[in-house]
Amino acid sequence: MADDLNTYLIISCALFAIGLFGVLLRRNLVAMLIGVELMLNAVIINLVAFAKFSAPEPVTGQVFALFVIGIAAAEAAVGLSIVLAVHKSRGSISVDDLQELAG
């Protein structure tokens, strides 16, 4: 594969689709969280790729990617603690058991 923008975009797109697939179809809360992480990483690849090919000099793209990684870590912490709380209160982490808001 050639070392150009398209290659990176295709890879990031595939990663995003996989993450989305996980979020939409998996019933396990932890699996869904992993899907979200995958989508975040797809975005990071996008950011870095665009920074490299269109505005290489200032490293803003890379710096921004570092921020996203940091925040993603925080998000994972919050998300996992919610999963833990859910598991404590109902003994399951399947979304099928979380339907109190059904109309």
């Binding site: 979020v23 179809l25 979304v95 109309g103």
Partner: protein, 610 residues
């Protein structure tokens, strides 16, 4: 003083009395009575001053009141021979009735309310008479209806009086619908409703004949309601539940005269359409005949007089519809005199006998009340059309005018004349010549003096009023010849025959004592028919029962079928749609997300395709 100022006094003084009563003077009844008498005097003076100082060609003044781009209503006075003559009748009768009421209502605890409302009645009637604009006339017209409602139902603790008041109000409102429609039709073609504008438009002949006929018929409907013509006449006999002075005023100068006055005022409009004129004439002849027959069998003194009023009002309309303003209006004037006299005399009888029943009055009072007897005799002689007396002079002119319109109408009018003579003399014989009269001592009181004085004055007026036809004709702007009676003509001879037949039959039936039933009772079916007022009352009852009930049922059907269905349907549809929406809200976060993404993708695709 200017004519404007006199007119202000005529309308303003009684109105002020009414408001003074309304705003708290009820606590001092004597003060209200005094004020009311003063204002009545001022009104009478003002009306006569207006009539005597009327310039050639009349006097009009008005100020715009409600003005829009294409329509304006003005308030003002329009003084003509006709309106000032009518105002004099109203002013004079109103004064006499007020004086009479001082005695008649002396012991009534609510006499302040009575006198205040009586003053409102005068204001409203003068408002019609002096008005320069038909919109103003309409307002005053409704005020007359209101005042008559309040007065007929004056003894409102009596259920019959309350009923009669309601009946009068609703029946005349029926007619007023027609009047209002007529005015609306005129508004559709005119920029304003000034009487002069309307009369000019009629004179210029700018409207197509069908339109003129439609207006005429609509207005006629209002007149039939107010002036108690068939089929809206049934409220008038019931209106006898009011105090006698009210009946007297209502029957002679105000209320019922308003309809006839409106006809006289807009006579060119009615005559412009041959159909309307003929229809009005036919209606009047029919009503006259109907009312006269009922008067022949009625046994309550005031109700006999009420039916007689309906019949005489028809005579006035006959004269007007036949094209003679002088004849019709002259009959209004003479009738105002003798009918007021008759009612006030009847009031004396009823006061003495404590009942309105004719036979009971004959037995208990009869000739022991000489002033009442005098009033009754003079009034009945005038009513029956005795030559030289008031009723004869004016009725002769009416008959003369009707004669030119065809034999059918003329013979109907002549027959009614004969019946009039019959019931008038029946009244006299039954009330005064009962051979089995118990002698009851009279109770003279100070209050009675006022009433007797008024009756004597009215009797003198009634004797003289028949000879004023020429002056009245000149005042109306016609030549005195129009009021001239051709004594040596076949018309007078026919009228004499009718009078002699009617009075003779009354004498045979009632004049010689014995049985008090009369010729009509020999035909029980006919007697019942007449006594029931030709079934018109029953018709209205059925109409209100069946017609109104049917209308109610229709309304119910519409309510249940259309309105309820619509409302219920809206609710049901909301529920169904809500169910569909609720099924989407199943609490699955992933489904929500899918839908959101799907929508986003569709939106982006659509954007891309543009």
């Amino acid at each position: 003083m200017t004519l404007n100022a006199w007119a202000d006094i005529a309308i303003g003084a009684p109105l002020a009395v009414f408001f003074a009563m309304l705003l708290g003077m009820r606590a001092w009844p004597r003060a209200v009575v005094g004020l009311s008498l003063l204002s009545a005097l001022a009104v009478a003076l003002a009306t006569w001053m207006m009539a005597l100082n009327l310039p050639e060609g009349g006097f009009t003044s008005s100020v715009p009141w409600a003005v829009t781009d294409d329509f304006s209503v003005s308030f003002g006075y329009r003084l003509t021979g006709l309106s000032t003559a009518m105002a004099c009748v109203v002013g004079t009768i109103h004064l006499l009735v007020q004086v009479y009421s001082v005695g008649y209502m002396a012991d009534d605890p609510h006499k302040a309310r009575f006198f205040g409302t009586l003053s409102l009645f005068a204001t409203a009637m003068l408002g019609i008479v002096l008005s320069a604009d038909l919109a103003q006339t309409f307002i005053a017209w409704e005020l007359v209806g209101l005042a008559s409602y309040l007065l007929i139902g004056f003894w409102n603790a009596k259920p019959a009086a309350a009923q009669a008041a309601k009946k009068a109000f609703i029946m005349t409102r029926f007619g007023d619908l027609g009047l209002f429609a007529g005015l609306a039709l005129m508004v559709s073609r005119l920029g304003d409703l000034k009487i002069d504008t309307v009369l000019l438009a009629v004179e210029a002949n700018t409207w197509e004949p069908g339109f003129v006929t439609a207006i005429g018929l609509c207005l006629l409907c209002g007149i039939a309601g107010k002036s108690a013509q068939f089929p809206l006449h049934t409220w008038l006999p019931d209106a006898m539940e009011g105090p006698t002075p009210v009946s007297s005023l209502l029957h002679s100068a105000t209320m019922v005269a308003a309809g006839v006055y409106l006809f006289a005022l807009l006579q060119p409009l009615f005559l412009a359409s041959e159909f309307t004129a003929t229809f009005a004439l036919g209606l009047a002849v029919f009503t006259a005949l109907l009312a006269a027959t009922v008067a022949c069998v009625e046994t309550d003194m005031k109700r006999v007089l009420a039916w007689s009023s309906i019949s005489q009002l028809s005579f006035m309309l006959m004269g007007l519809a036949a094209g003679s303003q002088v004849a019709g209006f002259f009959h209004l004037v003479t009738h105002a005199g003798f009918k007021c006299l008759l009612f006030l005399s009847a009031g004396l009888f009823i006061h003495a006998a404590h009942t309105g029943d004719l036979l009971a009055i004959g037995r208990k009072v009869g000739r022991s009340a000489p002033v009442a007897a005098l009033g009754l005799v003079v009034g009945c002689v005038a009513l029956s059309g005795f030559p030289g007396f008031a009723g004869f002079m004016s009725k002769e002119l009416v008959l003369h005018a009707v004669h030119e319109q065809g034999m059918v109408f003329y013979s109907g009018a002549l027959l009614t004349s004969a019946l009039t003579a019959y019931y008038a003399f029946r009244l006299v014989f039954l009330a005064l010549f009962d051979p089995e009269r118990e002698s009851v001592e009279a109770h003279p009181s100070a209050a009675l003096k006022w009433q007797q004085g008024v009756v004597v004055i009215l009797a003198v007026l009634t004797l003289g009023i028949g000879w004023t036809g020429g002056d009245l004709a000149r005042h109306l702007g016609a030549s005195a010849d129009e009021a001239h009676i051709h004594w040596m003509s076949s018309g007078v001879a026919f009228a004499m025959v009718a009078l002699v037949l009617g009075a003779g039959l009354a004498f045979v039936d009632f004049g010689r004592g014995g049985e008090r039933a009369g010729s009509f009772a020999k035909f029980p079916a006919m007697h019942r028919f007449f006594a029931s007022g030709w079934g018109v009352d029953a018709f209205w009852r059925t109409f209100s029962d069946v017609g109104i009930a049917g209308l109610t049922r229709l309304a119910l059907l519409i309510d249940r079928g259309a309105i309820d269905r619509t409302v219920d349907g809206t609710g049901a549809a909301t529920k169904v749609l809500g169910g569909v929406a609720a099924r989407m809200q199943n609490g699955r976060v992933q489904l929500y997300l899918s839908i959101a993404l799907g929508l986003l993708a569709t939106g982006l695709l659509a954007l891309g395709a543009m």
